[in-house]
Symmetry: C2
Subunit: 367 residues, 2 copies
């Protein structure tokens, strides 16, 4: 059931992963261009093997790779492209065992791509799964952590070749705190290798098959555009056959207001979207990712459900650091996979963790 | 030429090291109490072997241990006492070689004591030398670094048992930047093991015999007080027979103004001291350590010369975080060891590095 991801798949994956990234997880263009060159340069075949979680040996060693920090910083400080490999190798040395495969920690325009980059450079396969099924802003916000796995030890690398290995035992929140501090000092963004786990743990804790799902979602949007079909309808139909079950447009309008600040290794803020021809308005609040969408003051979608802003016509995902006045957009909401909605999971990444004084209420299906 | 430091020496060492610490390097009471208990608990004899640098084998492995951060934070967040040992062991594992001895990175009320604590706990000797011959606020400001040694890899530990190992290659400034970030996130202060070097490198780069010198200076002050002799005269006479060559009082008065703020892992500010019965005033500027002393606007001593504030009668050192309105004090200046005053050294810790737009001018001897 393993498959090979080729350069032809990269655009679809970048769009689909960015859609699932809920406005975070990094810019899809940057993610795609980072991988495209490396894939051709590092592998004779220009492709990377993608393993289904069911194919992993129980005792294999899987390590997640990705970038951490404020996406706004990444736009200005391009990575060298070797950071994730450097981090993975440092973690491997620290653990004293060879890594079997790498895996994304989250879905996102960059963070679904970085493991491909590392995999191509190091000759490893990538596991078709991740620890969020979307993107979240903090390191402890994973299904791995919800199920008791430590993120420690984490290897962190920057574009100068500096590396740190951080170990806080079972305390994933303090780990986030320390690694975030390093990411800030490394220029606002850094690459990490973390959550070393066995193949059995991947099967027990990860959201499965998100790389292939993201690729299918991106392909659906592309084909809809090529065939002059409505991409939002196509997305909804494709999502029905995934762990996400449903997705739909909850608001359409023009971006009229963006309040965005980068501090402490995050981008935080809010955006206002006005409907055209009516007085209706939608407010989005974000910390790297969109956390809540309110229409005329009423919450229509809230974390961990996935709130994404898409270009009104093409369905292209617009990440929070790219939101700008005047964009015509649709706010698209995707229901979170079931493992993100348990009471234990909501304690780690439910609305109140982000300072939103509301309970999680799953997005209502189309009547 | 090795000797044994016993509990009876601790008070003298703490005072003398704090005097050389130029207002930084940590509170001597805290340093002494940290070590006193551990020395008795960890060693059967209650003493620690102190090695002269000349006794080290060329290929022995020496690692400095100490604390890093804002001394103001340390006053409020007591260490567990095991952090430095934890950091040293983590560095040892990372290097894959057993450490032969530990050594202070600087002179100070705490940072001369922490290596004794680690040595007692781990059964290692301490080397009678350090990398500053005083205290400086930043990790790269060492005679080791001036002579080309990397501070990397550094192990950093906090009181929760978290550990990070940071490696920035030969870039000691970026190392300071990253490790400071960790110290801030660890609560403003953290313990480190760094500057792993050979015995030959210790002899080539360290300021020698500062532990024994500090102990002698502390003893001189104590004996002066016991014998009702002026401690400042005794200090001056003792310094003549050391690498410091001279020390003298440059101002006496009352602390009338302290402006102190803790941010970014440092304590920064200034203090004003007014002479009693005249209009003369002395201003001190500090970043953890006192950097410059100006009397009536004229610079009388400047970094790397050692500017310390001592209690006007007892000669007790008062660190920058303990300066307070109303204290009767003397500003005592000690000339820096020669290896701190080379052009290369001044590029690393001369006045301009601290944003002071003046050249270094050695303190003038008593006429």
């Amino acid at each position: 059931m393993s498959w090979y991801l080729t350069p032809a798949d990269l655009s679809d994956l970048a769009w689909g992963a960015s859609l699932l990234g809920a406005g975070g997880g990094g810019d899809p263009y940057l993610g795609k261009s980072l991988v495209a060159g490396a894939l051709a340069a590092a592998t004779a075949t220009g492709r990377v093997q993608v393993l289904d979680p069911d194919e992993l040996d129980d005792d294999s060693l899987v390590v997640t790779t990705g970038m951490m920090g404020a996406p706004t910083a990444l736009v200005e400080k391009l990575p060298s492209g070797n950071e994730a490999s450097l981090a993975l190798r440092a973690l491997e040395r620290h653990l004293g065992r060879p890594v079997t495969a790498t895996m994304p920690s989250e879905c996102g325009g960059i963070n679904s791509m970085v493991p491909l980059l590392a995999a191509a450079q190091l000759g490893l396969p990538v596991v078709d799964a991740d620890g969020m099924g979307r993107a979240f802003p903090e390191l402890q916000m994973t299904t791995f952590g919800v199920r008791g796995l430590p993120g420690s030890p984490v290897a962190v690398a920057d574009e100068r070749g500096s590396v740190a290995v951080v170990d806080t035992g079972s305390d994933n929140r303090h780990l986030e705190n320390l690694v975030r501090g390093l990411a800030v000092r490394m220029g606002g963004v850094a690459s990490t290798a973390s959550y070393a786990m066995s193949g059995a743990d991947v099967r027990r804790t990860a959201v499965p098959r998100t790389l292939s799902t993201a690729t299918r979602l991106g392909r659906a949007v592309r084909e809809a555009n090529e065939n002059h079909v409505d991409p939002f309808t196509m997305l909804g139909e494709t999502l029905c056959r995934t762990v996400y079950q449903q997705g739909r447009v909850v608001f359409s309008g023009k971006v009229v207001d963006v309040d965005r600040r980068t501090s402490g290794g995050f981008v935080r803020g809010s955006a206002g979207i006005s409907a055209v021809g009516t007085t209706s308005a939608c407010e989005l609040v974000f910390q790297n990712e969109n956390l809540v969408a309110r229409v005329d003051g009423r919450t229509v979608a809230i974390v961990p459900d996935i709130v994404t802003v898409l270009h009104a016509e093409s369905g292209e995902p617009i990440t929070t650091e790219r939101l700008a006045f005047g964009q015509r957009v649709r706010v698209f909401v995707i229901s979170a996979p079931v493992q993100l909605c348990t009471p234990e999971a909501l304690k780690v990444f439910g609305p109140r963790v982000f300072g939103i004084d509301e309970d999680y209420r799953p997005v209502v299906p189309v009547p």
